[in-house]
């Protein structure tokens, strides 16, 4: 089990719309519906926002490479550095 990230999303909407007033138990349920619909739209709008790296991000553990490959990789990296 790995913890991928902790993120915080904040959205603010400022709009012109129509409202009405009355008192009825059905009205509370209807107000809730409006917030749910907006939340669904927000999710569609924010799902492609990328959370930047920060200290709360816990990186997945690196897979341990076999020793032979590790040695080869180090060699390759060294030669790359030398060629610059």
């Amino acid at each position: 089990m790995t913890l991928r990230r902790v993120s915080v999303l904040i959205g603010i909407i400022v709009s012109l719309t129509a409202a009405s007033a009355a008192a009825d138990p059905r009205d509370s349920a209807d107000r809730s519906q409006r917030l749910d619909t907006n939340a669904l739209r927000d999710d569609a709008g924010t799902q492609r926002l990328r959370v930047p790296s920060h200290p709360l991000v816990i990186a997945p553990p690196q897979q341990a490479a076999p020793n032979a490959k590790k040695g080869k990789k180090q060699k390759s990296s060294t030669s790359g550095a030398m060629s610059r």
Binding site: S7, I13, L16, A19, S20, R31, Q33
Partner: protein, 215 residues
């Protein structure tokens, strides 16, 4: 805000804050634990103010690019901006979604089915959502976005027993990405609700900007 037959135009703002903890159980199975607070505050029609606080958990299985999710959410709905607790509910949800990319266009269809258990009989209902997120990238900063949405409700208890609503809505907007985690979207949205209860029918036009941050 809610719908009766004496609707008036107004300005409102809606802050929406989510804290999420994401992780993987296996390569294809991920989880999310989240808390979310959201409210509507109107400039003049204060009786339309409402707020919701929710906590939930989601399991998502990835299968050939499709995302199948099961979600449980416990929530508190308030009249006013966290003024009076109106009702508490438990939502059980199942959804399927995926992203399709065609050149510079991303299509994100989503189907979602919910049943709400609640201590307020009028709030208990089935809900079905079909949504298509569309984003057309014009360049790295600018996009045109649209989210056609269909919602259907079947209320099961209390004064709402037998009530059936359908909501059709579509919006179009221009999005500017300040960075990969900050965007500003200005949209025009049209919404129409049909219902077998006459006073619950309405038409709504909404115009305004939305600012999103992720960090």
């Amino acid at each position: 805000m809610f719908s009766r037959d004496n609707r008036r135009s107004d300005f409102f703002y809606e802050p929406d804050v989510s804290v999420r903890l994401d992780g993987n159980l296996t390569d294809d199975l991920s989880y999310r634990i989240y808390a979310r607070a959201q409210y509507d505050a109107f400039a003049r029609e204060k009786d339309g103010n409402a707020a919701v606080a929710r906590m939930g958990a989601r399991l998502t299985e990835n299968w050939n690019g499709w995302r199948f999710s099961a979600i449980y959410e416990h929530r508190y709905d308030f009249d006013g901006v966290y003024r009076d607790l109106a009702f508490t509910s438990d939502d059980l949800m199942g959804s399927v979604a995926r992203d399709f990319r065609v050149n510079n266009v991303t299509f994100s269809p989503l189907l979602l089915l919910t049943y709400r258990f609640s201590d307020l009989a009028e709030a208990r209902r089935w809900r079905f959502d079909a949504l298509l997120g569309i984003e057309v990238k014009l360049d790295p900063k600018w996009s045109i976005v649209s989210t056609p949405l269909f919602e259907a409700f079947w209320f099961t208890d209390g004064l709402n027993r037998g009530r059936q609503d359908q909501i059709y809505s579509a919006d179009i907007g221009l999005k500017y990405n300040f960075a990969s985690n900050v965007s500003l979207t200005t949209t025009v949205l049209y919404e129409a609700r049909e219902s077998n209860v006459m006073v619950r029918r309405y038409r709504d036009l909404r115009i305004g900007p939305r600012l999103d941050f992720a960090f």
